[in-house]
Symmetry: none
Subunit: 209 residues, 4 copies
DNA sequence: CATGAATGAGGGTTCATTCAT
DNA sequence: TATGAATGAACCCTCATTCAT
């Protein structure tokens, strides 16, 4: 191998690309800037990636792959799961996901903001739909095992819930300090998810418009 | 002086800009295309707007202004409001907002998707924070008048709720058919908002992780 | 029309392109250089031509069109044409063609040298085949009316003749002084074409290898 | 040291260069492609040649050298040569030349088409002038020994003849099948060269324009 | 005010050449 | 000597903005 002095150029470029894409979006990310950030020349970039967009795609696909691996399919465990166990498992999973998002907040930000480029807006949609399906799965499972109200509209609730998590992700990727994910997610569960539990709060029964 | 002075050029340009921005985002919207769509020349565009970005800003500010006008400050009504009335008023307000969003879905889409341009990402944040503040106000009011659980974390719940509405807005601006807003928002209220009401569902008390 | 001060930019660009293409070939012709030569900016070039190659194509097609118009189809005249008249007409036609080539020697040179670009080599072939077909037509006509030897192989002779004219064209486009076309072409006719006339010179009959 | 020292690398590179140059011309021939074709690395190429252009020059010079060696100077034989012998010798020589061209058609094609690069156009001219001088020599010799008409303009006839041969060469280097050179060249001699013989065909004497 | 040709800074990509191993 | 990653100068084309008419 020629010039094996620095076998890390590719990953340095990927890290630099992540940083630059995360700072200014795909469209305004200059290959020059990425190379400069990586400490190599523009030509070196093209030794490793066919094009700027390809580098972005590679980053995104790797990220979404890893993210997908974090998420278990629900309902594969014993059906005897109690409500407490169910919510605890959800919480643990959420925590893993959001910690991953925090670790990869630069790139996640680009993805969540549509690559800040018309060409990659579809990524937002795919990611959003992907996460909504996950919520649907969990809600359906929860409903099946009697954890949720029977009149829960899974489609509506999932859209809303995943929207809330989406917003949470959007705010996390812009934070400077690592938040306390356990406390945050537990509070969310306590404040929001339980609201979907079996009975609407009796205080308002009969009041529905 | 190819065409007689057209007093409506400016608004034709604004409409065209809205269409083009909405179709391809700010970055990929060419002034040529806007002028063509408006049926005037590129030069005419610059007679009315200092720059492409200024035209976009003007559109956005006008939109956000009108949107803000739709939203009443809570708590200005009589304090004796019952829970049913409170939720009904919320629902009515939400309906006005989402109908407005539907009417202006082209531009809203651009705003929600970050202007698809680095230069305008802050607009998303401002809009998001703006709508979150509104939710905070309502939650605080509701809490003050005893409609919500005392342990409701207003900051968390508002972030989550406005995230859900945000997601809803994002899906609406991409729809081809006008959805039934009343049914949709009532379902959301039934499924989500009531969950925050005074008592957590008794089924799970004690189970909190 | 805006800025009609100089309505000649397009033709100035065409002339400049002809000059630059003629000097260095299509591949090494820089759009900057063409614009500079025309006294306008690079952007102006793209106001008038979709691409560098398109400008070249336009130049070539116009030239070949005009060149084609110069060449009469043979045999449309009275069949009673005498040999002297036939050769005189050929001479007049050749003279028109070569004078045209001289007038357009810059661009002709590029065409004859394959655009000096791989992408345009086919032009040489097309042009060569085009001119060979013309010679074939004339030879066939001449043979039919008895001007040429019956054993004249029209395919071979035409390839050879058009090759000779081709070489002549190639040398003309590189000349600095206008040659005397009448004298030159008459001498060629006298030296070469008559050699194909009815009988091989008796001096060598029977000597063929 | 990936592969054992290969003493044939240089000639493998030359063969590869010939192939690539012949396929796409000098300008579009990438050093990468040449090295790949030769089965070595790009660096190896630069161990053997100072530059891409130098490799091309070397190929061309070797070819022209070998081509020059094929051609005898005329008139060194006995002066008593008969016309038949003269033409027969010419034919044999032509045949050697065109067979050589056929064997080296890849590179010849590049040369004949101007190296398809501005930098090498002069090679075409040199080669063309070189071959024209040869024809001049032969014509002068033939004229001196009385084989050709006294009014033969050697400069004109040679330009024309070498042009015809040039065209022939250009078509040969693009053929897929080896033509029958003897038949072809004999036909040319019969159709063209004899036309320059001593007397213009009597049919047209007096008709010259 | 309207027009649209002209401007020119910029950016993605290519590829001959260099050089550390 | 062989390797192939690194270099960086070019160069085509885009498009927001200017400005003479």
């Amino acid at each position: 191998m020629a010039r094996p002095a620095d076998p890390h150029v590719r990953s340095k470029l990927l890290r630099a690309a992540e940083l630059i894409f995360g700072s200014v979006g795909v469209e305004r990310a200059h290959v020059d800037a990425i190379a400069l950030e990586a400490g190599v020349s523009k030509g070196a970039f093209y030794n490793h990636f066919p094009s700027k967009d390809d580098a972005f795609r590679e980053l995104v696909q790797a990220l979404l792959q890893k993210l997908g691996d974090l998420i278990p399919r629900p309902g594969t465990d014993a059906d005897s799961t109690s409500g407490a166990e169910f919510f605890a498992r959800c919480l643990a999973c959420d925590q893993r996901i959001f910690e991953f998002i925090w670790e990869n907040r630069l790139l996640m930000r680009v993805i969540l903001e549509g690559g800040r480029s018309h060409a990659f807006v579809h990524l937002v949609d795919e990611f959003a739909e992907h996460s909504r399906r996950l919520v649907v799965d969990h809600l359906q499972y929860g409903k099946r095992v009697g954890l949720f109200r029977e009149d829960l509209d899974v489609e509506i609730a999932s859209a809303f819930l995943s929207g809330g998590y989406d917003r949470l992700a959007r705010s996390i990727v812009r934070m400077n300090e690592r938040p306390n994910f356990h406390a945050l997610l537990a509070a969310i569960q306590n404040n929001v998810l339980y609201g979907m539990a079996r009975a609407p709060s009796p205080a308002f029964s009969g009041d529905l418009p």
